[in-house]
């Protein structure tokens, strides 16, 4: 028998009900698939007094196609997302990223919303209550010391969701519902660079859906993930890449990163690659540019040195393969 904190489970059937149930119970949390949250509850990291269960809310469960955009409910499972022909057609990297999350059983119930709102991870944080107590806890939870960077006041726990960097490639927007109504904002604005408090959600706010505009012309994109095992593992580094070419030269390039910092982000300073042919020298420059922006810290048992380098290596490989596809498609 597993010891879980005592809690009350609510079963709302509408977003508005969910929000008001949550508002009435300030120590509560929203519960979707639970593959992330319930692990933390089991470890005593989270001790919610109530859980607002989202699976019975129809609005959250579907992928909607409109002429100019698609809307993905936050409760859509990662399996559904990975298998969606619609998502594949327009946003290949998103479907691929969803298909790379954890293992197949996790994707059966893990949701898009859960993956976007995944708690940040650190080897000093994702441990049992006994373990964390023996280690005097940490900045992120109940302690005042960071074991990753002792003396520092910033938490480096890494955001480890796979889907976010892929959605960032497409300027996705998130729709939120909270006690003061609904609002939309860029997905990028959902995150801040602070492992302790990496989501900009207001208290009681619920991620309802993701809206992604369809590109006017077909866009090539892909996602790749580094992990020691072929399944189950969180990304040591994850790279989503979007690329277009004209006349054998790079016309558009975006790189989204995950697993290497407290937030997923689009790499900057890639303008210099526009207009270059994707030859070996260009790809190696790109690799080095990404490497320098992937500032992984010692938050995993795998050393950060490798995570930085592999972020660059995956970018090189993705760019190489997409460039090849694009050249073949145009010839």
């Amino acid at each position: 028998m597993e010891l879980l904190s005592e809690l009350k489970l609510h079963h709302p059937i509408s977003v508005e009900d969910a929000v008001s149930l949550h508002a009435a119970a300030p120590t509560g949390r929203y519960l979707a698939g639970g593959s992330d949250l319930l692990v933390n509850v089991r470890r005593g990291i989270e001790q919610p007094g109530s859980l607002v269960y989202l699976d019975n809310i129809a609005e959250l469960q579907s992928i909607t196609d409109a002429p100019d955009q698609i809307t993905i409910g936050a409760g859509v499972t990662l399996r559904e997302l990975a298998n969606s022909a619609l998502v594949h057609e327009h946003f290949a990297a998103v479907a691929q990223a969803a298909g790379e999350v954890a293992g197949p059983s996790h994707r059966e119930y893990g949701t898009l919303g859960g993956n976007l709102c995944l708690d940040t991870r650190c080897v000093f944080y994702n441990q049992s209550e006994w373990w964390r107590a023996a280690n005097n806890y940490c900045l992120k939870s109940r302690g005042d010391i960071c074991h990753v960077a002792p003396g520092g006041k910033k938490c480096f726990a890494a955001f480890s969701g796979d889907v976010a960097p892929a959605l960032l490639l497409f300027d996705a927007e998130v729709e939120l519902a909270g006690p003061s109504g609904r609002r939309r904002m860029a997905l990028a604005e959902l995150y801040r660079n602070d492992g302790m408090d990496h989501l900009t959600l207001e208290t009681g706010e619920l991620l309802v859906a993701v809206h992604v505009a369809k590109p006017s012309v077909p866009v090539t994109s892909a996602y790749a993930k580094s992990r020691v095992r072929g399944s189950i593992d969180f990304p040591l580094a994850g790279v989503a890449l979007r690329m277009a070419m004209r006349d054998g030269r790079i016309a558009e390039l975006r790189v989204g990163l995950t697993g290497v910092s407290p937030l997923p982000f689009l790499a900057g300073k890639l303008d210099k690659f526009i207009g270059r042919a994707p030859d070996q020298a260009c790809l190696e420059d790109l690799r080095d540019a990404i490497r320098s922006q992937a500032k992984a810290m010692k938050t995993t048992v795998t050393p950060p040195h490798y995570r930085r380098r592999v972020a660059g290596a995956l970018t090189l490989k993705l760019a190489q393969s997409l460039a090849q596809d694009l050249v073949e498609a145009s010839s």
Binding site: L9, L31, G34, V39, L51, G103, Y109
Partner: protein, 166 residues
């Protein structure tokens, strides 16, 4: 116990039997199955979602019973290893795991078979890649997986050749 623990009347279909139980809201499905329903076939091998030994089918889909609150399974149909065989006859998958030695110590086997069961219902004639993809959240420490793949192939063949699925 001085506090009143939040409870739910849970109604579900467990291995073909409809039942109602009063359960605390914080009860995990795996503990409900093992301790409330006394179905101990479903195993606990890790501290949450890492090994797949607790895999059961909820409305036909594989899921970790160790990361599922029982109270979220209201009106669901739950299938576990304990209810897979009918009339004590082994199913094709169970025979496959037995005859092809897909089970050595047997501790991962319940989860492995339930994940395989979901696969075969979805893809009756899976490729080796399909099998690997479907079992990628289930750890086995004995077999190196070679004979597990053979066990599922055995079952797929037995089923597609029209053998009664028992």
């Amino acid at each position: 116990m001085t506090k009143t623990i939040a409870k739910t009347v849970l109604s579900l279909n467990l291995n073909g039997v409809v039942r109602d139980d009063v359960i605390p809201d914080n009860l995990l499905l795996v503990d409900y199955l093992r301790e409330k329903a006394s179905l101990t076939g479903t195993k606990i091998g890790c501290d949450g979602g890492e090994c797949g030994a607790c895999t059961v089918l909820i409305d036909g889909r594989p899921r970790h019973a160790c990361l599922t609150l029982a109270a979220t399974c209201q009106d669901s149909e739950i299938e576990t290893i304990d209810g897979l065989s009918r009339d004590s006859r082994l199913t094709a998958l169970q025979r496959g795991f037995n005859e092809k030695l897909g089970a050595q110590c047997g501790f991962c086997t319940p989860g492995m078979i339930m994940a395989s069961e979901a696969l075969l219902r979805r893809i009756p004639n899976p490729s080796e890649t399909d099998i690997r993809d479907a079992l990628a959240a289930n750890i086995c420490r004995c077999t190196g997986y070679v004979k597990i793949i053979e066990a599922v192939q055995f079952a797929a063949q037995a089923l597609t050749e029209g053998e009664p699925a028992a």
